[in-house]
Amino acid sequence: MRQSDIFSGLFLAALGVLTIFVIIPREITVSENYGLNPQIFPLTVMWLGTAVALLLVIVRLRQPKPADADPGPMQPKNWLFIVAISAFLAATYVAFETLGFLVAAPAALALLMLSMGEYRHPIRLVLVSACVPLAIYYSFDRLFVIQLP
């Protein structure tokens, strides 16, 4: 975890600096007319966060390197997975919004099941991906009075 702590600490410290000097001044209007300046609390918290992130980096840098190679928690295959699943989730979101739940959900369900090896059980794949979205849609609609898109 040493290396990943150093990288994540540096990333969070950079994010903190960006937030303090760019995002907060642009996104929070300074106002002294009533009570305290709205920037005070976010700035205080972000300065603290940046300091702790830098402290994490310094503490980890001072630690001796582990004797055996530390593979770290995120390997290329993990990055590949999270990028692919993020793209899938984003596409599902767009499909929900444009096509509606009853069209997008069976497709999303079938794709996820296929990727997890359900092509070996085609009947179950078809039944689950057709029936479960219908059941969810109608239980939300009838029981909880929530109309899914």
Partner: protein, 515 residues
């Protein structure tokens, strides 16, 4: 007295009893499924309670919480995969017992010790929450700022292998809570022109994404990388097994009784501390039993005491964790954090005034908790065989269906796709946090308490900026500031656990490797 009777009578209506039973059954099933847990199920169920009465909603959610705490032990004992993080130490001795053909005995001991621990925690809550609330009424903005500050350090200090990462997660959680309108000037802050963000980042979709969806992403990844590992079955109900392997004997009770009470007390103490939670309680209960048992050196090889210790401790937390929530409005654990949402959507602000303004609801909640304990015991006993069948649903079906349910749940929080977007963003963030071992629990608690903390902090600044010496007249605040300093000093001195260097993935998906 009137509130007490009114609350208890309302609990005993048929509808509320039905919701408690439904909640407990749901909780046991959810808890038994590896990767799912109580807070996750409560987060998904929370939007569904909009249309229920406040007591029915809380009773349902409490039922899920109680049921899931026991349910987590089912998969821990049967397939060495804790259904919930709290049940991780249960697997240490529970699974070896299953391998020895004593799985049913272990499940029964888990059920009985869960019920005893949960009842003990509830009794302490019933008798101490109201007096604690009276004390809390004497606390002003300075005291509350100091208490919240101290809570953050306690939460961060016990969040995981690295307290510093826990602190960072809590700080960024607090920071995100400032998104929305400024509480004094009502000027928009960090909304990037979005009208929907003016109400702040919604808690429910954030919780669904961070807790439920991110865990499912890890489970899917684990499934894809390891291949399908389902299909393992343990015939623990075989009639051929000797009777003493299937039942808890009097000798077992004698050897475990002291352990159960000790662990219950540990669970109660841990639960009453804001932000510590059932995971720590389970491990402490197990460690304490191992240290005090004459068979301590045999722990890990199938000792019934190990199962009893963990389950009594983690179940005792469910009741006592509500003490800080009801007394001073600070959630004792993740479940209590999500329960704040349930209180708020029904127009109830948890905190010292709750006994005065919503006394009947609080006593009704106490009644619901007692009933939930009773139903956990009876449903657990009746349904042991049935609940364990859920484990046989293939992961390739289960996980995609849960993803769909999460998206539907996030949508229903405000009937818009904005909630779904928030859930998806925080699902990816939650995945990265789990992988990099940044505590999502401290992040969530920081986010949930951030607004309240800011308000007290700003009130204190306004009160004392002209005369800081006035602070010396607030001994409770000074005491908590000193405690905060001591806590920070201890966090600074604490070295990261050895496992933090060696363990490639801190995700709970790999919890089957707990031994």
């Amino acid at each position: 007295m009137h509130d007490l009777l009114a609350g208890l009578m309302e609990t005993l209506t048929l509808v509320n009893i039905a919701f408690i039973i439904f909640g407990v059954a749901t909780g046991i099933i959810v808890g038994a499924i590896p990767g799912l847990n109580g807070p996750m199920a409560i987060a998904v169920a929370l939007p569904l309670t909009y249309y229920l009465s406040p007591l029915a909603a809380l009773a349902f959610l409490i039922g899920i919480s109680k049921g899931s705490m026991f349910g987590g032990s089912i998969s821990a004992i049967l397939i060495n995969t804790p259904g919930t993080p709290e049940a991780a130490p249960t697997a240490f001795d529970g699974y070896p017992l299953t391998q020895q053909g004593k799985g049913l005995k272990a499940l029964k001991m888990s059920l009985f010790s869960s019920a005893i621990g949960a009842t003990a925690g509830d009794l302490i809550l019933f008798f101490t929450a109201a007096p604690a609330a009276i004390l809390a009424l004497m606390m002003g903005p300075a005291e509350m700022t100091a208490v919240l500050l101290f809570s953050f350090t306690i939460i961060a200090g016990l969040a995981g292998k690295s307290p510093m990462r826990g602190c960072l997660a809590a700080i960024f959680g607090v920071f995100l809570s400032v998104v929305g309108l400024d509480p004094e000037s009502t000027l928009p802050r960090l909304t990037f022109g979005s009208v929907q963000l003016q109400d702040g980042i919604p808690l429910i979709p954030l919780t669904i994404g961070l807790l439920a969806l991110s865990e499912i992403l890890l489970q899917i990844e684990d499934h894809l990388m390891r291949g399908d590992a389902s299909g393992r079955r343990n015939d623990i109900f075989s009639k051929d097994a000797p009777r003493e392997n299937r039942t808890v004997t009097r000798a077992d009770w004698r050897s475990c009784a002291r352990t159960i009470w000790r662990s219950s007390l540990i669970g109660i103490g841990i639960g009453a501390l804001p932000g510590v939670g059932a995971v720590v309680a389970g491990f402490l209960g197990y460690a304490s039993a191992k240290r005090n048992s004459p068979n301590g050196d045999k722990f890990g090889t199938g000792q019934l005491e190990g199962v009893a210790a963990t389950e009594a401790a983690n179940n005792a937390v469910t009741g006592s964790a509500l003490i800080p929530l009801l007394a001073i409005g600070i959630p004792g654990n993740l479940t209590a954090t999500i329960l704040i949402g349930a209180f708020l959507i029904h127009g109830v602000q948890p905190g010292p005034l709750i006994f005065k303004e919503h006394g009947a609801l609080v006593y009704g909640l106490f009644g619901a908790m007692a009933l939930a304990d009773l139903f956990t015991l009876t449903l657990g006993a009746v349904g042991l065989r049935l609940f364990s069948l859920v484990l046989n649903v293939p992961n390739a079906v289960l996980y995609p269906v849960i993803v769909l349910l999460c998206m539907a749940g996030a949508y229903s929080s405000d009937n818009s796709m904005f909630g779904v977007a928030i859930a998806l963003i925080f699902a990816v963030l939650g995945y990265l946090m789990r992988k990099l071992d940044f505590s999502f629990a401290t992040f969530l608690i920081g986010f949930a308490l951030g607004r309240q903390f800011e308000l007290f902090f700003r009130q204190s600044l306004i009160l004392f900026r002209d005369s800081p010496a006035q602070l010396l007249h607030h001994p409770i605040a000074i005491a908590f500031v000193l405690l905060t300093i001591v806590s920070l000093w201890r966090i600074g001195r604490k070295k990261p656990a050895a496992g933090a260097q060696a363990e490639p993935s801190p995700s709970f998906a790999g919890a089957e490797n707990v031994q």
